[in-house]
């Protein structure tokens, strides 16, 4: 038995080694130099050995008792959705604490950290928006970045041509993005599943390409600069540039570049909280339920009188609006926008946030947004290995939690006391049905 195991292990190791050697030999082992190559085969052999060793280590861990337990656990969390019992403790306290912690973050964090926090929150917003479309309504959207771009460019170009400010852009952006969502939705809603994915991808690319090509209007690849935000006419710059009064002068305090970040962070944080609340409400509202029902079975929905076209349209528009909102914050945070920020990869990243979070789960989306924005920053120390490690972690996380970080929980519903027990059918054996 024991030797048998060893034998399979050895076989496994050898196989892994051979396969990885073949894989690594050309790319890692022979480095192109002009039309000839440099021999680095030892590197390939080392890599292959490393992979084989890793494989064996995994198998060995799998053989031990603890390993099996872990493996068993990993395997058993497969089923995704659970219904709540209605007896869960109210999370109000924890939520309150998180809210306060979020509000007080600027007092502890430096600008770098705050900058990342702002990005993370922007991605939360994007994730929440896309989650409506993909997670709730089940429409695979690979061009979400288009709405993000609409929001960002609204502020940039609006300021340039119409004199729009941060606040007015913040109000207009959701509507404009929603409108774009509607324009896109019309041709799209007839399509199914993955056709929809490519059409949205195409739409995202069209927006980016137009932004890039329409030099006269958008500044093309040179981008467009975005004025810094103002608060009741107060400016955050060292000297007033938009005809207002600098904030630090008004309050008679020393100038610090941090104030702008504080301001953006706080406004963004509040907006995210509002959106989270709204999205959470949506899930227990008829509209949100119809989205989810549509995701589950469109035909059944139609048989219940749900206007599927209209319902999908609302999902698209609301998702787009949220994306537009995020765009405004992105623009104001960067102070500069150009098309490189709105590539397909960005859409993929947002989608990864939604999927990794657990389709449809708000908490999951927030968690995933934090993970996927903070992770690349943490990986900075890996320098050029950063992207490699990021890719590996993305795959590992997906394998580890294929259904997302957070399980979707469905709310429980109970009848109001007035009808309790009234609906018991005559043939029912158990009248005290309500748990």
């Amino acid at each position: 038995m024991q030797t048998n195991r060893l034998l399979t292990l050895a076989k496994q190791a050898l196989l892994t080694f051979t396969v990885s050697l073949i894989l690594f030999a050309p790319i890692s082992g022979l480095v192109l130099e002009g039309f000839s190559f440099r021999n680095e085969l030892t590197r390939a052999v080392l890599l292959a050995a490393l992979v084989a060793a890793g494989r064996v280590a995994l198998s060995l861990v799998g053989m031990t008792a603890i390993g099996r337990k872990i493996a068993g656990k990993a395997a058993s969390n497969g089923s995704g959705v659970t219904v709540m019992t209605g007896k869960e403790k109210s999370p109000a306290l924890i939520l309150g604490l998180i809210f306060l912690a979020g509000l007080s973050l600027p007092f502890f964090a430096d600008k770098y950290f705050l900058g990342i926090a702002i990005l993370a929150l922007i991605y939360c917003l994007l994730g929440l928006g896309l989650n409506i479309v993909v997670g709730l309504a089940g429409l695979l959207d690979l061009g979400f970045v288009a709405f993000y771009a609409v929001g960002a460019y609204l502020l940039a170009l609006g300021a340039q041509y119409l004199g729009l400010g941060f606040w007015s852009a913040l109000i207009i952006a959701p509507f404009l993005a929603g409108l774009c969502g509607m324009v896109l939705a019309f041709p799209v809603l007839k399509m199914h599943g993955d056709y929809l994915a490519i059409v949205t991808l195409g739409f995202g690319e069209i927006i980016r390409l137009v932004l890039n090509n329409w030099l006269e209007f958008t500044g093309g690849p040179n981008g467009a600069s975005v004025p810094p935000p103002t608060l009741f006419g107060l400016e955050f710059t060292r000297t007033a540039k938009q005809g207002g009064v600098p904030l630090h002068d008004y309050f008679g305090i020393a100038y610090s570049a941090d104030y702008k970040f504080w301001f953006i962070y706080l406004v963004l944080f509040l907006v995210v909280c509002l959106v989270v609340y709204a999205v959470e409400r949506l899930r227990v509202m008829p509209l949100g339920r119809m989205w989810e029902a549509l995701r589950e079975d469109e035909i059944a929905c139609r048989s219940l009188g749900v206007n599927h076209v209209f319902t999908k349209l609302t999902a698209f528009m609301l998702g787009a609006s949220t994306g537009g909102l995020a765009g405004v914050f992105f623009a104001v945070h960067q102070g500069f926008v150009n098309p490189t920020s709105f590539t397909f990869f960005e859409s993929a990243l947002i989608l990864a946030i939604v999927v990794l979070g657990g389709l449809g789960s708000t908490v999951g989306v927030i968690a995933a947004a934090l993970v996927l924005t903070i992770l690349p920053e943490l990986l900075r120390d890996f320098a050029e290995y950063r992207v490699l490690v990021f890719g590996v972690l993305m795959v590992v996380m997906m394998i580890w939690k294929p259904r997302g970080l957070v399980r979707v929980q469905r709310p429980a519903f109970f009848p109001s006391t007035a009808v309790k027990g009234a609906g018991t059918a005559p043939l029912s054996a158990s009248p005290e049905a309500v748990r």
Partner: protein, 272 residues
């Protein structure tokens, strides 16, 4: 005699070369159970799909009686932009499916709540702000859901995932869900398939109660002749897409054409 609730007039349905229904006419009277039977592939489900607006019949008319006189299903679904089968449901026809179509990853109650989306205050703002009107509407919807769960003997499963339920209960849940739309006519496609005889008996009681206590009109496709004979007031038999017999259960049960095409010589019936 007043006008029938549903009047199917000379409906023909073709799929490419296949004619699934040929010149079918029958009517469904208010407050009773009409059964649609026939061999496999006779075109019963197709007929249902035409009635519920999933297909547009190639020829003929399907009229649903309403407050403003009879309404043609065909015009509802071909209405530009807003048209579609959902309008048929809104006009008062609900259905279940031969292959169960529940929202599997949603809870049982939620399945029923989706069905009531038209009566709940479907307004974004009021929903997000939780206005009293919205809360009242939600509460009523939940209560109505529980009412139908009770009727279908499913209260125990209210807060489980629909997909986890065993087959038989899923079938009952589908009926409950269809009832939640408050239909004038409910169309059941093989509701007893996969139920054992005692469960079938329960189901037939449920259907009968629907008619008696709630004045519900039912159109049902079923292969379980025991059930059909027990509950229906009126039976229509299709074969090869055509109506071969139409009348009371006794009439149809003794119609030699039906026996030859569909029933065979029934030892079971003889036994009972």
């Amino acid at each position: 005699m007043n006008t029938p609730l549903l009047d199917v007039r000379n409906v023909t349905m073709r799929f490419g070369g296949i004619v699934a229904n040929r010149n079918v006419s029958f009517s469904v009277e208010r407050g009773g159970v009409t059964a649609l039977i026939g061999p496999n592939g006779a075109g019963k489900t197709t007929m249902f799909n035409c009635i519920t607006g999933f297909y547009r019949a190639s020829e003929g008319q399907i009229l649903l009686d309403g407050p403003n006189g009879p309404q043609d299903i065909g015009t509802l679904i071909t209405k530009p932009i807003t048209g579609g089968s959902h309008l048929v449901t809104r006009a008062g026809i609900a259905r279940t499916f031969q292959n169960i179509r529940l929202f599997k990853e949603m809870s049982v109650v939620e399945n029923l709540l989706v069905a009531q989306h038209l009566v709940t205050a479907n307004n974004l703002v009021s929903g997000v702000l939780r206005t009293p009107a919205f809360r009242r509407a939600e509460r009523e919807a939940v209560d109505r859901a529980y009412h139908w769960l009770g009727e279908m003997n499913l209260t125990d499963d209210a807060n489980r995932l629909a997909g986890e339920l065993p087959y038989g209960r899923q079938r009952r849940l589908e009926i409950a869900r269809a009832m939640c739309t408050g239909p004038k006519l409910i169309c059941l496609d093989e509701p007893a398939a996969g139920l054992n005889p005692s469960e079938t008996r329960e189901l037939s009681e449920v259907i009968q109660r629907l008619c008696k206590e709630h004045g519900q009109t039912v159109l049902v496709i079923e292969h379980d002749m025991g059930l059909v004979m027990r509950i229906s007031d009126h039976v229509v038999v299709l074969d090869h897409g055509e109506v071969i017999s139409d009348g009371t259960p006794e009439h149809v049960g003794n119609d030699p054409a039906v026996i030859a095409a569909y029933l065979g010589v029934s030892e079971e019936e003889v036994e009972k």
